[in-house]
Amino acid sequence: MTTTNRSTLILQGLARRFGTRWALRGVTLSLEPGEVVGIMGHNGSGKSTLLRVISTALRPSAGEGWVFGKHLVREAVEVRRHIGFLAHSPGLYEDLTARENLIFAARMFGVEESGILPALERVGLSQGRDERVRGFSAGMQRRLALARMILGAPGLLLLDEPYNNFDPQGIELVNEVIQDARRGGGSALVVLHDRRQGERVLDRIVELNRGAVIGVSAGTPLTLVSVGGSH
């Protein structure tokens, strides 16, 4: 594993246990600025758990990790300043409008509310900004969740199956958001099932099985370069 003191993300032997079951087992991984890495694996392989541990939603049971040099457990609030997490569920308030959801998010992120309209425009929701989220389709809710993530100006994007519920334009939008982050020196970890959806933006793919890294693909086209070990 090659890490630098500029690394966006460093994970060393990260593990997470639920009861007696190990969902993650000794994951070692690093991301450099501008790097976009895909995480693939079967259902239950630990992909979402990995993102949730990095996001600080879950504490690791063993191992350590740093995001922009901040420790995942000891400096969790600082870590959260750098992270944008797009989870399976959009996590929106259905009785608030799209704009109100972002006003709340801006205040919680501690950022200016002037970024709300550009974020809504970026995801194509400026027309429906004053409509309640309850009436939004799954794809529109996903777009709004994406706008909320952009609003926080994160340096590390954690995207859990970001292409779900999106039409081709939505998939293109997700890829553009990733590319924008990359151009700004940010990095992304993208959980996906179909590598073709994100192939255009991915630098590497890390394969997980039963919570452990079993292989890494890199290059153009992405081909298997190593099996097991540190990445």
Binding site: T56, A87, G91, L96, A105, R107, M108, F109, G110
Partner: protein, 228 residues
């Protein structure tokens, strides 16, 4: 600077919770109606004896607030759980105490609004005649509500992760509420009966002490119970 940012976050949570509640309305109506219903049931159970009704007024009122309040606390976290919004809420770069403070303040305002509706009903139903001590009695309502809401918000956050949260919350909360309930009911009873402050004074001091302990303990412990 950081503290003012945190206060902005607290205000954001209050605004979000109350706006959502105002739009849905179902929560407030249900909680207020349940409070009134409990008062009516106490009234029926105590019978037409005016003296018995007056003596029971404060206790019945506080029990009605307590049972109705549990619904409110469950709803406060249900808002987050329904759309999977609890996790994003926890992932904002905010200290955990800001989330507790926001939820606590929103719940307190909600419970006080419910009290504005059900206290007049209790006064009429239980034939409370002496309103001389209404200002101190209102103060006791606020003090009692602070302790009650602090514990309710804390235990609701703890129960929110459980599938059996509707059952778990009262089981956790009610035993802890005994001191607040006792002090609030005794102080209210003394004031509603028109007794001078010296009868209620000791209970009010006790209530203030419980409020301080419960609010501080809840703030300190919230960080640990909300973690996954």
């Amino acid at each position: 600077m950081a503290f003012s940012q945190d206060l902005r976050r607290v205000r954001a949570i209050i605004w979000k919770d109350l706006t959502t509640e105002r739009r849905s309305k179902a929560g407030f109506n249900a909680v207020a109606f349940l409070g009134i219903l409990i008062l009516l049931l106490f009234g029926f159970a105590l019978g037409p004896d005016a003296e018995a009704l007056r003596n029971a007024a404060a206790g019945a009122l506080w029990l009605a607030i307590l049972f109705a309040g549990v619904l409110a606390f469950n709803r406060a976290y249900q808002l987050e759980l329904d759309g999977g919004a609890l996790e994003p809420l926890l992932l904002y770069p905010a200290p955990r105490w800001t989330i507790f403070a926001g939820k606590f303040a929103a719940n307190l305002l909600f419970v006080l609004l419910v009290e504005v509706v059900i206290v007049p009903v209790a006064i009429v139903l239980f034939q409370v005649q002496s309103l001389a001590g209404w200002a101190p009695a209102a103060g006791v309502m606020v003090l009692g509500s602070i302790g009650f809401v602090a514990l309710g918000t804390f235990y609701a956050s703890m129960a929110s992760r459980s599938r059996a949260r509707e059952v778990l919350l009262p089981l956790l909360l009610f035993p802890m509420l005994v001191p607040v309930l006792l002090a609030s009911a005794e102080a209210s009873s003394a004031l509603l009966a028109g007794n001078p402050m010296r009868d209620a004074g000791a209970w009010i001091k006790l209530l203030v002490a419980f409020d301080v302990i419960f609010v501080v303990a809840s703030f300190l412990a919230f960080d640990h119970v909300i973690e996954v």
